[in-house]
Symmetry: D2
Subunit: 142 residues, 4 copies
Amino acid sequence: MSTDARPDDLPPPTAAPRAATTAAPGSGDPLAELRDALRTFAAERDWERFHAPKNLAAALVVEAGELLEPFQWLPDDRSHALPPDVLEAVRMEMADVLLYLVRLADRLDVDLADAARRKMAINATRYPVDRARGRSDKHDRL
Amino acid sequence: MSTDARPDDLPPPTAAPRAATTAAPGSGDPLAELRDALRTFAAERDWERFHAPKNLAAALVVEAGELLEPFQWLPDDRSHALPPDVLEAVRMEMADVLLYLVRLADRLDVDLADAARRKMAINATRYPVDRARGRSDKHDRL
Amino acid sequence: MSTDARPDDLPPPTAAPRAATTAAPGSGDPLAELRDALRTFAAERDWERFHAPKNLAAALVVEAGELLEPFQWLPDDRSHALPPDVLEAVRMEMADVLLYLVRLADRLDVDLADAARRKMAINATRYPVDRARGRSDKHDRL
Amino acid sequence: MSTDARPDDLPPPTAAPRAATTAAPGSGDPLAELRDALRTFAAERDWERFHAPKNLAAALVVEAGELLEPFQWLPDDRSHALPPDVLEAVRMEMADVLLYLVRLADRLDVDLADAARRKMAINATRYPVDRARGRSDKHDRL
């Protein structure tokens, strides 16, 4: 839908001054780098007022839907072979999802990498290799 | 819904041998670290067959919906102050979104950090500070 | 996620008095019947305050995600044959989507059936039989 | 995203011959009318092959995301007052959601109205008036 009000996405590689805790681009942690760039981008545009966690979570699911769209009629086994222009569009949708996720994490003071590591440890417990092997069942059905 | 078939999420911090190109935990790039851990997790469980890009994109939007759920009835301005147990659940949903996104990027051979940087540059062009300041309009309405 | 605040869904077949304009159950128009039942359900619980269009649209996409969940790892061609308990769960998710859609339409004063008929006419123009036959391409690519 | 492959939506008010069980437009049951029109639309275009339940559920959540999009940055209390062009776009997104839902129900042989009535009865039990009044908590937290 083209008639809407959304900053769609967010931030720029910016030359604005960075705080001492900031990860510089190329420092190795892209999540920290994106977080800082998004902060600057929002501050420059006075967009903090729009970036309530609820709104960012809504924007994220909208982008996740857009990411799914080019796959919706494809057979599963053809979903690896996207035409180049579709793949590029998919890359930009994946970028949107990541940007909103990083921005949401910043607004909620969540350490994304730590959360992901902890969730992976939970999954390892829920899906033991011997029972989960070759099965797509949810853990409560294994 | 509890009656479903989904590995829900994916990978563990694993002790499995890693390839030479692998980012070790703590090396500084959490996206590379998570990508490698997810690869191992899926391989150990013979889950590659389920991880078609289409399926991963579907799983991602499902998790994005779950992430939005605790916010859906909250006024925007109360969405910063989640009770501790809800915030922890939100963290785990954010982790799920990130894990599926990283796994999808791996399956499509997409460099997530690069895509996000390129999208940020596009956004900087679409939303010039002087026109976007304080406005939530989409770029084609600025 | 179980830790959230959502009325999840909404209305009951109620014995409350109905307005004269109300479609009685069995009168033939289920959309009108559901609209009226949902109104009563919300009023009895003082839930109008939560039912801002934004919130209902958020709730709807959450339910749509839950509806997709049981399909996410299934091959397309096996998605017709759901186990009975999964199919019943799918029915209830479809019900949730319909209930939120009807409630949202009521709050925005939208005539759902009229909108659907108009959209079908647009689709007939966008997807002429001779060009759309056997193709899943979007109209701007036909 | 504009680069995708989706029939986006589906059916036309058609002059094709209808089966004896068909609800004629205006007969009073818009769900039956839409179901029949969608069947004809898909058959004329040889689209049954694309309309696996999984694909329709994916298409539905994509449309639900598009429906949420115009609301994402709006304060809840301003989401009633959409500009006319945005409201019309919202109507068409609501139509898309309904059309995919009706088509999915047809493919899974689900009686949507019956499912919605049964879910409403469940909700009445889960959210008793005296406990749910004025609260947005999920039933397991009441």
